[in-house]
Symmetry: C2
Subunit: 204 residues, 2 copies
C-alpha cells in the first residue's frame, strides 16, 4: 500500500512539474527570460513558491527544462527517423514543415526569438545552450546542402559557403517580421520559395 | 550677459541630454529596453534622477530619443542623397555597406535585435516604431528590387515576391548568429554573396 501511495505521490509530482514547465514556457514566451516572474509562474501553476523551488531550485534550471521540452517535442514531431548520412531533400523538407508548423505557434517562436537574442550575451544562463543549438543547426543544414551538392541537385552557380547559416538566418529573420506584423510576411511560403530557388527538384 | 548665460545654460543642458541618450543607448543595448534601469542610467550619466526626468519624463521617451538618434546617424552616414525613383544597385550597395559598418558596432546591432523582438508585443512602447521601421525597410528594398527587375539586372528565375522581406530577414538573422558567436558567420560577406547570386552585375 505504501508503494502505491508513493507511486501516486510520484505521479502527482510529475504532473505538477509538467504544469510548471508549461506555465513557465508561456511566461518566458510572453516576457522573455529576464522579464518573466517566478512568483507569477508559481501562482499560475497553482503551486507555492516553495513548491516551485522543490522542482526548480533556480530560474536557470526552469529555463533549461522549458528549452529541453520544446526541443524534445520538435525532434519527435519533425526529425524522428533521421539517420546519418542525411538525405538533403528529406531534411530540407522537414525544416520547411517545421516553419509551417511554427506559423500556428506564436508563443514558441517568440520564446526562441527573445531567448536567442538575450542569450547572445555570454553571461546569460542560456548562452551555451543557444550557441550549441546554432552550431548543431548549421551542421545539420550544412550536411543537407553538401548531400544535395554531391547529388547535383543545386542550381548551377549556387555558392554553398555559408549557405547553411544563411538559411537559418532567413527563417529567424522572417519570424521576427512575422512576430511584429503577422500579415506582413508569409514565412512558410517565403522559405519554400528560397528553397525552390536553390534546389532543382521539388522539396517535400 | 544674461543672454550669454542662458546660452551657456542651454548648451550645458543639450550636452547633458546627449550624454543621457548615449548612456541609455548602451544600457538598452546591454539589457534590452525592459531590463535597463533608469536609476542606473541616471547614475552612469552623472545626473540625478530628477535631472533625467527633466529631459525624459518617461522611459518610453528616452527609448524614442535613442532610436531616433541611431536612425539619424545611419541616415546621414549611409543614405544621404537618396532620391526617388531609387537606383536599385546604389541602394543595395548602401545596405551592404551598412551591414559591414554594423560588424564593428555590436552594441547597435544588439540593441535593435533585442528591441525588434521585444517590441513584437503590441503592448510594447516601441511596437509602432519597430512595425513602421520594417514597413519602410520593405518598401525601400522593394523599390530597389523593382528597379533592378525593370532594368533586367536580376538573374533569370529570381522570384521577386517577398524578396525584400527575405533580404531584411537574412540580415537580421545573420546578426543574431553573429551576436551569439562572432566567429561563426561573416555577415557582411554572406549578405554580399546573397546579393551577387541575385544581381547579374556587381553591387557597389
Amino acid at each position: 500500500m505504501s508503494g502505491e501511495a508513493d507511486d501516486a505521490g510520484y505521479a502527482k509530482g510529475r504532473a505538477r512539474r509538467a504544469r510548471i514547465v508549461r506555465t513557465a514556457f508561456e511566461a518566458f514566451s510572453a516576457h522573455g527570460y529576464r522579464g518573466a516572474s517566478l512568483v507569477q509562474i508559481a501562482a499560475d501553476s497553482g503551486v507555492s513558491r516553495a513548491g516551485l523551488v522543490h522542482h526548480f531550485p533556480t530560474k536557470e534550471s526552469l529555463l533549461e527544462a522549458v528549452l529541453e521540452e520544446r526541443d524534445r517535442v520538435d525532434r519527435e514531431q519533425f526529425f524522428s527517423g533521421v539517420t546519418a548520412p542525411v538525405d538533403g531533400l528529406d531534411l530540407l523538407g522537414r525544416f520547411a514543415r517545421l516553419v509551417e508548423h511554427n506559423t500556428s505557434n506564436r508563443g514558441i517562436v517568440g520564446l526562441f526569438a527573445v531567448l536567442s537574442v538575450e542569450a547572445s550575451d555570454p553571461s546569460h544562463p542560456a548562452h551555451a545552450y543557444i550557441a550549441t543549438r546554432y552550431e548543431n543547426l548549421r551542421r545539420y543544414l550544412g550536411a543537407a546542402i553538401a548531400d544535395l551538392d554531391a547529388r547535383g541537385l543545386l542550381r548551377p552557380g549556387v555558392e554553398v559557403e555559408g549557405l547553411a547559416a544563411e538559411l537559418i538566418a532567413t527563417v529567424d529573420g522572417l519570424q521576427v517580421q512575422w512576430l511584429v506584423a503577422p500579415d506582413s510576411v508569409d514565412m512558410a511560403a517565403q522559405f519554400r520559395r528560397r528553397l525552390a530557388d536553390l534546389v532543382t527538384v521539388g522539396v517535400g
